[in-house]
């Protein structure tokens, strides 16, 4: 049993994906990294559930990476 939702949960995922890319548009590599780091922390604070966050970190750390 996991607390993290890893099945489809976002209605307009294609739209969100496009918006995510658009948000990075025109940024340098370093600025993009900074934006991503801020985004992670903003979302983590919004989620506010330590178990969900730990599971999300573990999922992201699972291979394959990159």
């Amino acid at each position: 049993m996991t607390a993290l939702i890893d099945t489809p949960n976002l209605a307009d995922h294609d739209g969100f994906y496009e918006e995510l890319l658009a948000t990075h548009k025109g940024l340098s590599e370093a600025e993009s990294q900074a934006l991503n780091a801020q985004l992670v922390m903003i979302l983590a604070n919004h989620i506010g559930d330590r178990t969900v966050l730990s599971e999300a970190l573990a999922l992201a750390r699972k291979t394959p990476l990159g």
Binding site: Q33, A34, A37, Q38, M41, I42, N45
Partner: protein, 516 residues
């Protein structure tokens, strides 16, 4: 005015001419922790000998921030009021990024406690007050210029060999307490591992004397324009002395950086003028380490000999005083035959637990201040950037989480409906009581605190039934009409019940003495 270092007197110890009878307790080290330990034991009627290789107090301010809990402990040792009077009381900390305030905290937002959240007082004053109290106490025998050079132990006793200006002698003792500091020679002599982490960073720590109108607050900067790319701390002490910490980077040369011609221009940039005098300068590298065990049969480790932390959080000296608080009553009971060495083992389990919390917090702060290249730096910098635009990120800015006592994982009964601040394992919160204070009334005894009810006579504890004030209701009762608390001699809450049950209270008392 800079501090006037007066040497304490040396007198030739009796052991030089004839063997001394076996002592109950010998303490190695007359730093703040060793002397506090001796005074705490004296409060329980236990005599001790304190040996120190030196004869002056700490050179330089070193520990300046003394926590509320430390002040409560010092109060029991007779120097609480004096320390508050001499010290600079503060409770607000402000953290800046570049030149903008990003975060602030108030460590004691409520009234009704005898002691303030923190006072700043140079370590040399605290040591002087403690040593003077010890020299006045018949149960404490302080011996300066007595250096311990060898230690040994059997099942019944520990033995130390001591060098003095007049030659060598030996002492035998039922218990030896090593309060010999971060570099603990006793730890070395016993070959004990001091595992942990060194932070590859250097900090310039300076005391300056100047007159200024700055409020009594802790000011911490990340990447200030006056010290680009690094961190800085400014803190007020008594006698117009200010403490300045400047992060220097790992490549800084510690010898060069201590030279006044290097230090003075750096400080001019912090304070914005050159109207100050340098009082003390040192360059430090910080570590977080601890002994695996604090109890080694007849040898007990207390204070920096058992654990060291980086200072951002003031958990070093304050943590050491909490060791003293935890050990005093237990060792006294073992020496009296009231308890067996199982109770001493709880000093080990409880204080390694508290130490781990201190190390965890100190490590997190130091890492935030000195991030490694790569992801650590990326996230650290982005927390600071985010703090300027989102309130949640302000509390993520970590310039030190200041010392608070841990909540011990005790086994006593609990009623979750009662206030969380006074749950079992926590230090009993203070409150006004009559013309005085609850913590003073608790003293260093096992106490049954009966609120809103009459507690029966209980074997092995004194019963206290204070009048129910607003503070006592808020901190101990909540919505309950009656409660019974069992409080240990170190003022830690052992158990609590929403009803009166003499058998349960007595069983818990017996379990405490058995070390359960």
């Amino acid at each position: 005015m800079p501090y006037d270092y007066q040497p304490f007197p040396y007198t030739a110890p009796p052991g030089l001419t004839a063997p001394e009878p076996r002592h109950k307790v010998v303490i190695v080290g007359a730093g703040p922790i060793g002397v506090a330990m001796a005074l705490e034991l004296a409060n329980y009627g236990v005599p001790s000998v304190v040996l120190d290789d030196n004869n002056v107090v700490s050179v330089g301010s070193r520990a300046i921030c003394w926590s509320k809990r430390s002040l409560e402990i010092l109060d029991r040792l007779g120097i609480g009021d004096k320390s508050v009077e001499k010290g600079v009381t503060w409770k607000v900390g402000r953290t800046f990024h570049r030149d903008k305030e990003v975060f602030n905290f108030d460590l004691l937002p409520e009234e009704g406690h005898k002691m303030p959240a923190f006072v700043n007082l140079q370590q040399y004053y605290v040591e002087e007050f403690l040593v003077r109290a010890a020299l006045d106490n018949d149960l404490v025998d302080v011996r300066f210029k007595n250096e311990v050079v060898e230690v040994d132990q059997t099942a019944e006793a520990a033995t130390v060999r001591i060098e003095t200006p007049d030659g060598e002698y030996s002492l035998e003792t039922e218990y030896l307490i090593a309060c010999d500091g971060a570099k603990s020679p006793i730890r070395e002599m016993m070959g004990l591992d001091f595992a942990g982490e060194l932070f590859e960073e250097r900090f310039l720590i300076a005391d300056i004397e100047m007159t200024a109108d700055t409020p009594s607050e802790r000011w911490f900067w990340f990447e200030p324009t006056f010290h680009p790319g690094q961190s800085a701390l400014l803190h007020k002490q008594p006698d117009n002395i200010y403490r300045i910490d400047l992060q220097l980077g790992w490549d800084a040369d510690p010898v060069e950086e201590k030279k006044p011609e290097k230090v003075i221009p750096r400080i001019e940039k912090v304070v914005g003028h050159s109207d100050f005098k340098l009082d003390w300068v040192s360059v430090y590298t910080f570590q977080c380490r601890r002994l695996e065990r604090f109890v080694h049969d007849r040898v007990l480790f207390v204070g920096d000999s058992a654990h060291v932390v980086s200072p951002f959080g003031a958990r070093g000296g304050n943590g050491g005083l909490q060791d003293v608080d935890n050990l005093g009553w237990k060792l006294a009971a073992v020496l009296e035959g009231r308890a067996d060495s199982g109770l001493l083992e709880t000093y080990n389990t409880e204080r390694t637990y508290g130490t781990d919390e201190n190390i965890l917090n100190s490590t997190r702060s130091t890492r935030f201040m000195t991030p490694a290249d790569g992801a650590e730096r990326l996230f650290r910098d982005q927390v600071l950037a985010l703090a300027a635009k989102a309130p949640f990120a302000r509390s993520w800015v970590n310039s030190g989480r200041l010392s608070v006592p841990c909540v011990y994982p005790v086994n006593g009964a609990d009623d979750k409906a009662l206030p969380r601040v006074s749950r079992p394992g926590a230090v009993a919160p203070d409150a006004p009581m009559g013309n005085g204070w609850l913590l003073n009334a608790l003293g260093g005894r096992m106490v049954v605190l009966a609120l809103g009810c009459q507690a029966p006579e209980v074997a092995g504890a004194e019963v206290l039934t204070p009048e129910i004030t607003d503070e006592i209701r808020r901190r101990y009762m909540g919505e309950a009409e009656k409660t019974v608390y069992l409080i240990r001699p170190d003022q830690v809450i052992a158990a609590r019940w929403p009803y009166v049950d003499r058998t349960a209270v007595e069983a818990t008392i017996e379990a405490i003495w058995r070390g359960e």
